[in-house]
Symmetry: C2
Subunit: 364 residues, 2 copies
């Protein structure tokens, strides 16, 4: 059988730094575990724009479609802020999501014991937290037409369209119910059905899929504003949250913050199964390109490393190996090894990006 294939798109800002640590782990799998990944690298985001005038070259898109999984670092930076909308770094990422049809974005918010003190929330509110937000990733207001800035009379008007079809809602709902079955069997669906018709359809379809196909899963519905509030108040009430693209963007960032550091959180974006049975997949940290600390060895590579662990689990059926990586991260944190973002009042051993990667490698 062919080696599993990976396309690495390290991107901008701290992307290349954190990805360098993932490459060490990938190499370790080759030499120590006999699992060799065929790795290709390419550009996405601002660096792709600098080279090709587009944040995602068609050749790169084609490579992404061909591999088993894509690993992405981060995109964006202030030097690209004034680019035309159509060539902004983010468009590269959004094109990957859309053309690979990665409709189900899994964003775990897990609080590591060693970091429970580090959250802005009280320890008892977050200790042991383990929830997953399943965010719809290929539709909604991110992609709906019409969109743009138009002139009406003598003023400009900005327009975007929130648009969801029944089948788009149904497939991401299924993915949330499947995940819940492997966890604590509870799904909370969030929308604004009290003010948006797209939210009404969302609620109806999620309920229908539940009643027909997943009656064993406990399903509840919550308005997204109440959801934002409940995430801040008592996040442990949730198991799996399923929501649309835009609400998922905000709610998963809020949930991420609960855990104490965005530098810790991975994500998986999954699509339909390919011919080899593996889902189309892209893995990326939830954090952004953090241009303010880029190139200084300060970035925390854990989110990117845990994203690779998700790849092991969801793309390569190597759940045990994924757990091994996750345990290594936990051990290093329990040992008090800390990148700058994790350095709280309780102290710890301050390390650079590369030292954190090495510590995790040593723990493996």
């Amino acid at each position: 059988m062919a080696n599993p294939s990976l396309l690495i798109l390290a991107g901008d800002g701290i992307g290349p730094e954190v990805m360098a640590e993932v490459k060490k782990i990938i190499a370790w799998f080759g030499t120590r575990r006999g699992v060799t990944f065929d790795v290709t690298e390419d550009l996405v985001g601002g660096c792709a724009y600098d080279k090709h005038g587009t944040p995602l070259h068609d050749d790169t898109m084609a490579k992404a479609q061909a591999v088993d999984a894509v690993l992405l670092g981060a995109v964006g930076g202030p030097q690209y802020d004034n680019l035309d909308f159509s060539v902004k770094p983010e468009r590269g990422l959004l094109r990957l999501r859309k053309e690979m049809d990665l409709y189900s974005n899994l964003r775990p918010a897990q609080c590591f014991d060693a970091l429970a003190d580090f959250s802005s929330l009280k320890k008892e509110v977050v200790a042991g937290l383990d929830i997953v937000i399943v965010r719809e990733l290929t539709s909604g207001v991110y992609f709906g037409e019409p969109r743009g800035i138009f002139t009406e009379g003598n003023e400009r008007v900005g327009i975007n369209t929130q648009r969801y079809t029944e089948s788009e809602i149904a497939r991401v709902a299924r993915s949330a119910f499947e995940l819940a079955r492997r966890r604590n069997n509870k799904v909370c669906s969030m929308e604004k059905a009290n003010v948006m018709e797209s939210g009404i359809l969302w609620r109806q379809v999620v309920q229908e899929i539940h009643d027909k196909e997943y009656p064993d899963v406990a399903l509840s519905h919550m308005y997204a504003d109440a959801g934002a509030m409940q995430l801040c108040r008592w996040p442990k009430q949730f198991d799996v949250i399923v929501t649309d693209n835009l609400f998922g963007d905000l709610l998963s960032d809020a949930a991420a913050m609960l855990t104490g550091s965005l530098g810790m959180l991975p994500s998986a974006s999954l699509g339909a199964p390919m011919a080899n049975g593996r889902p189309k997949a892209l893995y990326e940290p939830v954090h952004g390109s953090a241009p303010d600390i880029a190139g200084q060895g300060k970035a925390n590579p854990i989110a990117c490393i845990l994203s690779f662990a998700m790849a092991l689990r969801y793309s390569f059926d190597m759940g045990d190996e994924a757990t091994r990586v996750e345990k290594a991260v936990e051990k290093v944190l329990a040992d008090g090894v800390r990148t700058a973002d994790l350095m709280g009042p309780e102290g710890g051993t301050p390390v650079s990006t590369a030292q954190m990667g090495d510590a995790i490698l040593a723990a493996l």
Copy 2:
């Protein structure tokens, strides 16, 4: 000069209970401060639907347009969940906002010293917190057309439209800058300009209004997802936040939760000046109708009482009297008087809705 006029729409659930306490305060102003309000009462939401088959009767709408200020309790309840979208309780509230053109919704998130321990966030993160979210309230995805659930091919599609004109953005931006000048002179504007054209226009117009009319105010921009995160991480970095209708809905609920109890938070929805110079105005607590505790004397009337204080300040130029009410609330909290929602591990004197109202009256 005519007495100041108020229309009271107590609404559903706990609305009438909390409003009963406000009426005591209004009566106190008549007998003890020589300020008599002409008060009319009417129905909104589910109770209006029950009586008239519509959540807001045209006569009520006309009254709201004629008075100096509207005080609203809350709308909604599970018995109305299956009503047609067009007659849901929320439509009554949304019609008031839209037809009175209340474009600027001020939502303070203030943490009372006596309650700093009560938040799910650490005390040092929230103690002394005092920020205001200015939410655009009459446009965006709440009102944009086209909207609805349509059939395409053989499936349903849910559609809503996010739509902002330049002038809609400009006027709410001005309102935020004006407010900032009376506070700490800092505005942070939030949108998703990295993915939505309406966000690009939002950012541009806010920046233009700033540069032309309010260059003395410190202005920053943040993506709304990062904003949700920063609100959970270190909310004191903000002074005034200005954002659109939908983002404002989520972000203000998250901000509300920071302060420990939603039962504490008032809001003012302001429009253009009327002939008498007063702005069109509606005041309401941020909390909802809480059907689970309605009719049990458990509700916290403070949010509704503080909403009346905002009316004193913003509609009636009675800033000193507003402060008097706010100080009375602070005193009662410092004395340990607690409705059920405020009852934390540190204990306190448990009181009913009416007892809380009486305690505040006594403190006045």
